[in-house]
């Protein structure tokens, strides 16, 4: 047990306070910055109390960065990736935990290894696939000589092509595989007693029925926790959307637009508008966390069943 003394308590609170200030200070600066007028924001040192320009700055930022459509893009991508991740993670964990097949451990380790290969590491091959999602199939046909065979027999050149660049699919699909999510689900599924699975079998439930009727409802808290993490991390994705979209006009996300909000090299240094833009952009994930935090904590810590 941890010793509790007034001194120790004081130290604990102090440490927490310092941590809190360190975390919250940048947000405070952003918020203050977003309320200032241009002359105020240019003053050194920066004032630490709010001014009255918040709504003007927000509307300026909204228009400058075209945040309306970009918000929609961000939302589509973040929701798409989150849903995709949860579905894939739950299904792959379902397969690994509840089915007894030879290659089970192989798949388990393959997924495990991908933990060490985040998107940033495999970004070039991933891009190549996104440019033509069917290229692995094409390669297979080429290697096996099927392409040549078909060309000789039918006179048709097989050239499969499915381009994912500049599309929502391209921004979503390559991100939905998640080893972390699979592991979270696996841990949860392993706590399901065998008897429950057998009871469902005796009741006549087929595997997918068991998944939908029993596993999904039981894993609700895990799912919400996972959804929270995944939504926030996808919302904040910068590199991948930047790479797969050349058509920023139609497919840009809000995080990509941050750049458009930063004052140009020798333009007006209106950092107040930049801060207001940043404030808008970080609002949705903040809201999601605020709404979900109750389940979030429960899903990650306790096993309530």
């Amino acid at each position: 047990m941890i010793e509790r003394s007034p001194l120790f308590n004081a130290i604990t609170y102090l440490a927490m306070l310092i941590g809190l200030v360190l975390v919250l200070l940048p947000f405070w600066v952003v918020f203050i910055g977003a309320t200032l007028s241009l002359p105020e924001v240019a003053r050194v040192p920066l004032q630490m109390w709010p001014s009255d320009q918040l709504f003007q700055n927000i509307s300026a930022a909204w228009i400058r960065a075209d945040l309306g459509p970009k918000m929609i893009n961000s939302l589509v991508v973040a929701v798409g990736v989150t849903v995709g991740k949860i579905v894939i993670a739950a299904l792959s964990a379902f397969s690994i935990v509840f089915f007894n097949y030879r290659a089970r451990m192989v798949f388990f380790w393959l997924i495990f290894i991908t933990l060490m290969l985040p998107l940033e590491v495999r970004i070039v091959p991933t891009y190549a696939i996104a440019a033509n999602a069917l290229s692995p199939v094409q390669a297979l046909l080429d290697v096996t000589g099927l392409t040549g065979l078909v060309q000789q027999l039918g006179g048709v050149q097989i050239a499969l092509n499915w381009n994912l660049l500049n599309s929502y699919e391209g921004m979503i699909l390559p991100l939905i595989a998640t080893a972390t999510g699979t592991f979270l689900y696996r841990q949860f599924f392993m706590t399901i007693p065998d008897e429950l699975v057998e009871a469902a079998k005796m009741d006549g439930s087929r595997p997918m029925q068991f998944f939908v009727d029993v596993l999904v409802p039981l894993s609700r808290t895990n799912m919400l926790a996972l959804a929270t993490i995944m939504f926030v991390s996808t919302w904040n994705q910068y590199l991948w959307p930047l790479l797969v979209t050349t058509d920023r006009e139609h497919f840009g996300t809000v995080v990509m637009q941050l750049k458009a909000l930063v004052p140009a090299q020798n333009g007006t240094p209106d950092w107040n508008v930049t801060m207001a833009g940043a404030l808008i952009i970080m609002l949705p994930p903040l809201l999601v966390v605020a709404v979900m935090q109750r389940w979030f904590v429960r899903g990650l810590i306790t096993k309530d069943k």
Partner: protein, 361 residues
């Protein structure tokens, strides 16, 4: 036609370890069969092979004349009650009971009606909208039973369903299960390691030991004519006295350090020189006067007080002899006692195989 035929069934979980060594059992329609044996002897494995939850390594099982080896559990017409109830924690009692009907596509109206009907039978009607976590152990057990009943299966399978209940509730549930079986008449197979449970419930007992069937028969027969030394030892409490020894030239049974028992009833099998195991139940060993015919003397080791009677553990010429005494005379450890064996109640088992040696009368 038997409701369940088990023919030459073997089970191995891995190529080397045979867990069930060939079981042959016929279970008649409407019978309540109890599989009894020490823990780890393969009772659950056998039951699970009937249910379809475990593959049958060798032999075949037929339910209602149809070989089910390759059928899925849902196709076998069995319902099962599990030791830990295995209720769906997120569903209400109503949904738990009705789940099998929902899965098989029974329309909602009919489903609700059938759920309410079985809930009434097991007195669960007031709890239909609760979740399992809001029920007591006995109520959960009844939900598990209702869930098994709702499909009107051909066979009920129970795997130690009462072992998580406290002693009093266990006895009550036992009576309830017995009554349900009387009312519904569904063929039932019940696994337990508790002999009281087995004796009170069974029409037919199957005694198992280490993956083999030791004896099949009605409880009274198993009690009065145990087919092997194992069964004799396993059934009955306090356990049967089993004395290893040999018949002398006068047909007396010599045991321990030379103690002799007069065993006239064993005429016909007491060949001089035959080595065997002599069994007699503690309730058939009486305290007697020192000079009564056939009395042997021993020293009291200790006394177990049961309230209505006392169990005397005595040392008789190096062998342990246990007797049940209802006389109320107090005895201290170390005291001399004289015991005699009632006639007509001796059992004899082969020393090598442990099989019963039949007595000719």
């Amino acid at each position: 036609m038997a409701a369940i035929s088990i023919r030459g069934v073997k089970k191995r979980y891995n190529p080397k370890a045979l867990v069930i060594h060939g079981v042959d059992v016929e279970i008649e329609k409407g019978e309540f069969v109890v599989i009894l044996g020490p823990s780890g002897c393969g009772k659950s494995t056998l039951l699970r092979m009937i249910a379809g939850l475990e593959e049958i390594s060798e032999g075949e099982i037929a339910i209602a004349g149809r070989v089910v080896n390759d059928l899925e559990p849902r196709e076998r017409g069995c319902a099962m009650v599990f030791q830990n109830y295995a209720l769906y924690p997120h569903m209400t009692v109503r949904q738990n009971i009705g789940y099998s009907l929902k899965v098989s596509g029974v329309p909602k109206a009919e489903r609700d009606m059938r759920v309410v009907n079985v809930a009434r039978i097991v007195a669960l009607e007031p709890y239909l909208d609760r979740r399992p976590a809001e029920l007591s152990g006995g109520q959960r057990q009844r939900v598990a039973m209702a869930r098994a009943m709702v499909r009107s299966p051909e066979v009920f399978l129970f795997d130690e369903p009462l072992s998580n209940l406290d002693a009093k509730l266990r006895v009550a549930m036992r009576a309830e299960i017995r009554k349900l079986h009387r009312d519904l008449g569904v063929t039932s197979v019940f696994v337990t390691h508790d002999q009281n449970e087995a004796m009170t419930l069974a029409d037919k007992l199957i005694i198992m030991n280490a993956g083999r069937v030791e004896q099949i028969g009605p409880p009274a027969e198993v009690y009065h004519r145990p087919a092997s030394r194992f069964v004799a030892d396993f059934i009955g409490s306090p356990a049967m006295n089993l004395l290893e020894g040999q018949f002398d030239d006068h047909g007396q049974f010599v045991h321990g350090t030379g103690g002799r028992l007069v065993v006239e009833q064993l005429n016909g099998v007491r060949r001089p020189g035959l080595r065997a195991v002599l069994g007699v139940r503690p309730e058939d060993v009486r305290r007697t006067e020192p000079h009564a015919p056939g009395a042997v003397s021993g020293t009291v080791d200790y006394i177990e007080e049961l309230g209505s009677a006392r169990v005397i553990h005595a040392d008789v010429a190096g062998s342990r002899l246990v007797a049940v005494d209802a006389s109320g005379v107090s005895l201290a450890p170390g005291a001399q006692v004289h015991l005699s064996v009632a006639s007509g109640v001796l059992h004899l088992f082969s020393l090598e195989s442990g099989q019963r040696i039949e007595q000719t009368h």
